[in-house]
Every structure is written in C-alpha cells, then in structure tokens.
Amino acid sequence: MTGRAPPPRGPGPAPRAGGNGRHLLLELRIAARPEAVRAALARISGALETGGIGEGMRGTAEIVLAEVLNNIVEHAYAGGQGQIALRIELCPASGALLCATRDEGRPMPGGRLPEGGLPPLEGPAAALPEGGFGWHLIRALATGLWYRREGEVNLFGFRIEAGSAGGD
C-alpha cells in the first residue's frame, strides 16, 4: 500500500464494508476520546466479521488498532479534541489488512516510531513498568509500519498479515 492519506469523510453511520469476502474497505472518522475508540473498534470487528475475516485475525487487528488509536488520543491530541481518520483495506492477493491513520495532533517525538522494546520485568514488584507495552504489542503483531508528517498532519500505516491469528 502506498502512503496515501485517507480522504476526509463525514461522520456517517456504520463504516462501508464490502461483503463478498474478497474486497473490503472501511473508512471511519473517530473522535479522539477513549469511548469513541471503543465504539469504533466494535464497529470495525463487526464489519471485518461480515467481510469474512476470521476470529484470530480480527483479534489481532483489534489489539493493534486499539493501541494505535489510543496513542493518537493520548499523545498526538494529548487529551484535547480532534478527529482520527482510519482506513482499513483488505488486500485480496495476500489477505492482509492494510491500515492507515490520519490525525492533526502533535508530531511523533523525534519524528520516528518508537522501538517498542519491553522494559525489564525482573526485580521487585515496585519496579515493574506500568507503561511501554503498547508499541511492543504493535510491533509484535503488525508489519510494514510507516510514519510521515505532512504539514500539520500525522500519517501512519501498518499491515496485519493473514495468519496473524494468535500463534504467537
């Protein structure tokens, strides 16, 4: 998938979804609030199921999308108001889900994606990390991550490969 930004769209009801199992395109606008992200994830799972995507891959997509969208809410918009445009397209040849987000929040620190290494887990409970898991999950479950800043806009994309069904 090229780094095309999702086109701007109005709010609309449910995301459009192709139902024949071979062509699937979802385009949503999501308010930058955790509750709106939760609602969008439910709609996406339903649309993916209708589109013939299996449970394992749907579960993988839900984790990655939750982390990506929550990152935009918490860090790009930093709790302020905003919209996230999300595009999910099934690649018929590979069976992968090609996903891209567009937001107008703050840029990624350093202009690059975090590595997502796990913090050390040994040692006393008091030293356990409570954060830093999100990027690790994204990198464990998604491929082809890319990020670009264009003017005031963040563009981010990734793939969920077919067979990302929990054999990890």
Binding site: R38, I63, E67, V73, A125, E130, F133, L137
Partner: protein
Amino acid sequence: MDLTAETVAGVRIIRVNETRIDAAVAIRFKERMRELTDGPEERVLLDLGQVEFLDSSGLGAVVSVMKQLAPARRLELAALTAPVARVFRLTRMDSVFTLHPAVPDPAALRAAP
C-alpha cells in the same frame, strides 16, 4: 466499572463484570480495585473470566494494582480468556503474575496459601 468482591477462605476474590478493561476504564478500574481491596486479606484474586479484551492501558492498570498491594499482599489472576492471555504472553507479563485457569474452589484456596 462493574466489579463485585467477596472474601472466600481468607482470599479476596474480585470479579470483573465487564467485557473490556481498556483505556476508557483503566483509571476507574484502579480506583474501584483500591476501594474493594481495603481489607486485610493477603491474597487478592482477580477473576477475569468475563473480560474479552484488555489493551496496554488495562494491562498497566492491573500491574498498578499489583504494585499498590505489594509487597505485603499478592495479586493473582484467574480465568483469563484467550485474547487476554495473549496480551499477557506477548508482553511477558504472564511470567510476572500467578495465573489460575479458573477461580479455585474454597478448598483449593485454603490448601494453597
């Protein structure tokens, strides 16, 4: 955030009556857990049997609860569904928590302090 709690065989068992512990409820979850664990029980068992989805915010909240109870008190987890177990596995947090396949019955709770 719907949680119910009871003490069985000296163990504080807290059941999450929600299908998701995520960014939308992580802070409220921590607050409710603090309220429900203000008793003396050394062991706290979190029944996650109804939770179908847990993201990194939810995971962080569970870790936060465990840290808040430590070192005098332990948090154990029970009945993780497959998607939740997967997140614990991917983050290696399954090696940090005691995980029970189901909530142990009272006899088992008494037998294994």
